[in-house]
């Protein structure tokens, strides 16, 4: 029993030491490095006034503005993919998108299958605290998730 305890503890400690040596946590599907290299691919599903889809599939609204500000802050380009909510979420689950905005219900059936950003108040909603917005993120993309959440808490929560 003692030997197993020591072996497992050593493995746990070794994992943590290794974690301290390199960028940590990391992504499963390299969302952060793909975002930096090729730009971020964001799914947008109509949800006015937060996500408004123009006639030429141009995406605007308060959620889209947050995404644009986040991209500018990190030097990412944004490629918008406009589509139905479930189709976009299915792509997100496989980490083919960096984010999906618009159409997320409070009790979304996608809740445990994808990641969710920290909630941010939107311009339209302020000062009402009820209309908090959140974005869906690919599962397993630890570094990407942390990068967005850190930006939202530092720059968007207090705006």
């Amino acid at each position: 029993m003692l030997a197993t305890l020591i072996r497992l503890s050593a493995l746990a400690v070794l994992s943590l030491v290794c974690a301290g040596c390199a960028p940590y946590p990391r992504d499963t599907a390299e969302s952060s490095s793909r975002g930096a290299q090729y730009g971020m691919t964001v799914g947008a599903s109509a949800d006015p006034p937060h996500v408004v889809i123009g006639p030429d599939d141009k995406v605007s609204g308060s959620d889209a503005e947050i995404v644009e500000r986040f991209a500018r802050a990190h030097g990412f380009r944004v490629h918008w993919i406009v589509g139905g909510h479930d189709a976009l979420m299915a792509q997100l689950e496989e980490a083919r998108l960096h984010m999906v905005i618009g159409g997320h219900a409070k009790d979304s059936p996608w809740e445990p299958r994808v990641g969710w950003s920290k909630e941010v108040p939107t311009r339209e909603a302020r000062p009402s605290p009820l209309a908090l917005r959140r974005f869906a993120l690919p599962p397993g993309e630890n570094a990407w998730h942390l990068l967005l959440d850190r930006y939202l808490v530092a720059h968007e929560s207090a705006r």
């Binding site: 746990a12 994992s15 940590y24 946590p25 990391r26 390299e30 299958r113 994808v114 630890n142 942390l146």
Partner: protein
């Protein structure tokens, strides 16, 4: 109808009584600590499969301790008009419940980790805001898992020592459940650390690796509990040999000058051992029967009710302990 009640079971020696009280206190502490640990784990719960399984295990690990306390209370009520054979077997029922809990933990681990691997589910580990800082939730989960491993390690070691003093198998199984608990917690830490490295399969594989040993413990204990409920040959606590009390009993009786040969058939009833002593002597006086009973009780504190049978009633050999 005249119903004959069994005599009140033999009182435990001072040392064993004290050990039983300590075991009860340990089980109460187990319930207290594991409730706290479960609440903490629930609050730190993220999308990790190993973390969810560890929480299920923490909840299940309270079952053997609760069953032990109920069994201990129930056993103290002793013989009455309903329970004419006493309640010594309460600990055997407790043993079965504990073994089922341990097997359940093992099966849950195997199922959950295989499901995660086959469905290629990417665990969602988000972030936690602490003041103005945003940190990866994996750190919180690993800290919670590390803290959850401490009570079962300490309580498990103490329970194992008491299980040996009392030859009490349910307590031994309870200690095994505690071992399963901290193993899962440490494997969970390794798994979540792996998720942080971008290996989505890490925590499911970590859970699968340890589930084998937990399932093995569960199955061994379950087989033991079923054996005991069938009054099978009593085994030592580690289940690797016959309980030494059996041969000690045979030796002690054979040393009586008038005994012409004996064999015994014992079974476990909680902490006690009871059963039959078959002698080769054709006639036995009441005084001789009483002498055998006295010698039997003197041979081990675990021996309780012994019936003595003369040669005419002796079943056909072979017997493992014919002398």
């Amino acid at each position: 109808m005249n119903v004959n009640r069994r005599p009140t079971p033999r009182a435990l020696p001072q040392e064993q009584q004290a050990a039983l009280h300590r075991a009860e206190r340990l089980c109460t502490w187990t319930l207290f600590w594991m409730s706290l640990v479960s609440v903490m784990m629930y609050l730190a719960l993220g999308g990790s499969q190993a973390m969810k399984t560890a929480l299920i295990e923490d909840l299940l690990s309270m079952l053997p301790a609760s069953a032990f306390l109920v069994a201990s209370w129930f056993r103290r009520k002793g013989v009455d008009a309903e329970y004419v054979n006493g309640r010594e077997r309460a600990f055997d029922v407790n043993f079965l419940i504990s073994a089922v809990a341990l097997t359940g933990v093992g099966l849950a681990l195997v199922f959950e980790s295989l499901h995660t691997l086959i469905s290629a589910t990417r665990p969602v580990v988000g972030s936690v805001r602490i003041g103005d800082a945003v940190i990866w939730q994996g750190w919180v989960m690993m800290a919670a898992l590390a803290a959850s491993a401490i009570p079962p390690i300490i309580l498990g070691r103490k329970k194992l020592a008491l299980a040996k003093a009392l030859s009490l198998k349910p307590l031994r199984t309870d200690a095994d459940v505690g071992r399963a608990d901290w193993l899962t917690a440490l494997a969970g830490i390794v798994g979540i650390a792996g998720i942080g490295f971008g290996f989505w399969w890490a925590d499911a594989v970590a859970a699968l690796v340890i589930s084998g040993s937990i399932l093995h413990d569960g199955a061994t204990n379950l087989r033991g509990a079923v054996r005991d409920l069938h009054d099978a040959k009593p085994l030592a606590l580690e289940r690797d040999s016959t309980d030494p009390a059996t041969s000690q009993l045979c030796d002690a009786i054979s040393r009586l000058p008038w005994v012409e040969g004996c064999s015994v058939r014992l079974h476990e009833e909680g902490v006690h051992l009871s059963g039959m002593v078959y002698l080769q002597n054709v006639d036995l006086t009441a005084a001789q029967v009483q002498e055998v009973r006295d010698v039997a009780r003197a041979s081990s504190w675990r021996i309780d009710e012994i019936d003595v049978s003369p040669a005419g009633d002796t079943p056909a050999l072979p017997s493992d302990h014919a002398q």
